[in-house]
């Protein structure tokens, strides 16, 4: 029974570590599927974190917090979308500028919230189910955003591969010129995808300040946006693989701590390198296999669309 307890504990901790990555990653996945690479993930998560904290703190409702986190991320995605879609600005440079903007803006608006405890997103508690040993707390005792993250993955998976709209979105990412010729509104699709990405990144940030650690401090995203970015590639743009990636990443970090606590010496720097090296390895493997590559990699990733006339 003690073994079960520790496994349950580990899984619970891993879920918390993985959820913000999964939320931000699923949004970025959709944006990239539509052909837009948004390197501003870290900035959008930061404004999401402060937005979520502020929303909850000012209204006393964590639901408002979730909504305002998503909205904050979405809001920051607007100038990015306008620049890279309508003005065909370079996505890499604009994304980096967006990171600066987001980190600066979040710090400025968050100044008055520093040093104050926030509201914590309540865990759902389903009487009867939550008390089932081992599985109960893991499956039925999570907070709303954890469920939202899985719902989003399922929904996006269905949307991308089972609906016409999803097909259109992928077409835009694979070849915006052909999509345009087929009458697909490339701009509109990309706008929607980027805004969705911003909203998800905002939720990911909101998870940090509402559930992970209910507080706000500057730079509390601490590089998670960049990890989420890596995970999207690690997942080779497939939603369910993103879940695997996010949870694997969370597990490595948590198990690293457990090993330390048990007295095993690990060089943290090399453990921290693992996700990046793994991403490179995955990238090499999927890129070698041209069939897989062609099936999943958005060919127009990072390229601006300007309709020919």
């Amino acid at each position: 029974m003690a073994d079960f307890a520790i496994v349950t504990a580990i899984v619970l901790t891993v879920i918390t570590a993985a959820t913000p990555l999964l939320l931000a990653g699923i949004g970025e996945l959709v944006a990239e599927r539509a052909g837009v690479l948004n390197l501003g993930l870290e900035g959008m998560m930061a404004v999401g974190a402060v937005g979520g904290f502020a929303g909850a703190a000012l209204t006393g409702s964590t639901t408002v917090g979730i909504v305002s986190a998503g909205l904050a991320g979405l809001l920051l995605a607007v100038p990015f979308a306008f620049l890279v879609i309508n003005l065909a600005a370079n996505q890499v440079a604009t994304g980096l500028a967006l990171t600066l903007l987001g980190l600066g803006a979040s710090a400025m608006f968050g100044e008055s919230f520093i040093g104050k405890p926030g509201l914590k997103l309540p865990a759902l508690d389903i009487p009867g189910l939550t008390s089932i040993p081992v599985v109960g707390r893991i499956v039925f005792g999570q907070d709303a955003l954890v469920y939202i993250s899985f719902l989003l993955v399922a929904a996006i998976s269905w949307f991308l591969f089972r609906t016409r709209a999803g097909l259109m979105l992928r077409a835009v990412g694979d070849s915006h010129d052909s999509a345009h010729n087929l009458g697909i509104p490339v701009y509109a699709v990309r706008w929607a995808a980027v805004l969705f990405g911003g909203c998800c990144a905002g939720l990911g940030g909101g998870y940090l300040s509402l559930a992970y650690t209910p507080l706000w401090t500057e730079n509390m995203t601490a590089g998670r946006g960049w990890i989420a970015l890596a995970l999207v590639v690690f997942a080779s743009w497939l939603p369910w693989r993103l879940v695997v990636g996010a949870y694997l990443f969370g597990a490595v970090a948590i198990l690293g701590f457990h090993a330390q606590g048990l007295g095993v010496r690990v060089s943290s720097q090399f453990i921290s390198m693992l996700p990046y090296l793994a991403t490179i390895a995955v990238l090499v493997v999927i890129s070698r296999n041209k069939l897989v590559l062609r099936a999943n990699t958005p060919a127009c990733l990072g390229r601006p669309f300007v309709p020919a006339r």
Partner: protein
């Protein structure tokens, strides 16, 4: 109403000049509004930010010292971007360059010879070039996206540096604090004038820019880069190998970033530390674009970005504005600059929805 971009047959010369003006006016307007909101006299705020750093000799020196690594890295990156090769791992190449070059003063602290510094620079160049070659090889050999591999390798490099200065390369006399030994004078960039911070290493930036400018215009490699970037298929027909160009630009930009790294460590810092760069490799990407991928434009753009750093610090010292305002302002300025540059290559046309070919609201 909707907004359409119409590609210009040729980049507009007028817009090339006007775009920075528009961007400046927009930034000043937004900046002034921001200062008003924060309760600072806008005129004074803008003066402290953009003019004051230009009024004193020492701050001009600092401006150059700060801009030099940005420009040096950006010149290399511009070559990549022109060839449509996306190296966003300059931060990593910078770090590896610094680490490789520092190997001599850290491992052989007692070696005092005029050969030390040139060797360090050479190692920095080589280290950066080799590290830059990795994403190029992965791209050529396996087709792996260089955007992502170069970014991932940046994190690997930063962690490697962290491990070195906290572990094997730590100064035994530093009470376990994470830093290497201070470099001896033989391993330090000489300065122009006693007590000045202006070291000779800053000259690498204009030198690289000049070389890039000349080579890009006249050499076969320069032509290959431009053709590969503009029309990859045409390049293949004319016998240029895309793979060779990718490798070439990655190696060159990696080498320049590595050089910037070792110059920064041997010039301004004087030892290896866990943090040796306040994000130079990423800022340089923005510099490259704000400088419109032109070697000489990059020099201007690097000075401009350096100015916002200095101005931001000045604003903290004299106006008591928080550092966040600076970051926000910087982000805004860059976003505006990037947006306005669209006007050079495209005409903007406003169309009423549903009515084809409505009147043009903007003439370029």
């Amino acid at each position: 109403m909707r907004l359409d971009l119409v590609p210009r047959p040729e980049p507009s010369g007028r817009m090339a000049l006007l775009s920075p003006v528009i961007a400046t006016v927009l930034t000043l307007a937004i900046g002034a509004a921001l200062f008003l909101v924060l309760g600072v006299d806008p005129a004074r705020g803008l003066y402290v930010y953009f003019v004051e750093p230009l009024t004193a000799g020492w701050s001009l020196v600092e401006l150059v010292v700060k801009a030099a690594p940005l420009a040096l890295i950006a010149v290399g990156l511009a070559l990549c971007f022109r060839a449509n090769v996306w190296n966003i791992g300059a931060e990593g190449q910078f770090t590896i360059g610094a680490v490789c070059g520092s190997a001599i003063p850290v491992l052989l602290p007692d070696w005092q010879s005029p050969a030390v510094l040139p060797l360090m620079l050479l190692l920095g160049l080589l280290g950066g070039a080799l590290y830059g070659a990795v994403p190029a090889v992965l791209k050529n050999r396996f087709g792996a996206s260089e955007i992502l591999t170069s970014l991932m390798l940046t994190y690997v490099a930063l962690l490697l540096l962290d491990w070195l200065v906290r572990g094997p390369w730590r100064d035994p006399g530093s009470y376990n604090f994470p830093e290497s030994v201070l470099f001896s004078s033989a391993a330090t960039m000489p300065v122009m004038g006693e007590g000045s911070r202006l070291h000779w290493g800053v000259l690498f930036a204009p030198l690289a820019a000049l070389l890039a400018y000349l080579r890009l215009g006249t050499s076969v490699q320069g032509f290959a880069i431009k053709v590969t970037g503009a029309a990859p298929r045409a390049a293949r027909f004319s016998g240029f190998s895309g793979g060779a160009v990718t490798l070439g630009v990655f190696v060159v930009s990696g080498a320049l970033a590595g050089l910037a790294g070792i110059v920064e460590v041997a010039g301004t810092i004087g030892q290896l530390r866990p943090t040796i760069s306040p994000g130079y490799g990423f800022a340089a990407i923005i510099v490259a674009f704000v400088g419109r991928l032109h070697p000489l434009g990059i020099l201007v753009a690097a000075l401009l970005l350096a100015l916002t750093y200095l101005g931001g610090e000045g604003a903290q010292v004299t106006l008591g504005l928080s550092a966040n305002v600076t970051r926000l302002f910087q982000g805004l300025l860059l976003v505006i600059l990037l947006g306005c540059d669209t006007l050079i290559a495209y005409r903007i046309r406003f169309e009423r929805r549903g009515r084809p070919a409505a009147g043009e609201a903007s003439r370029g």
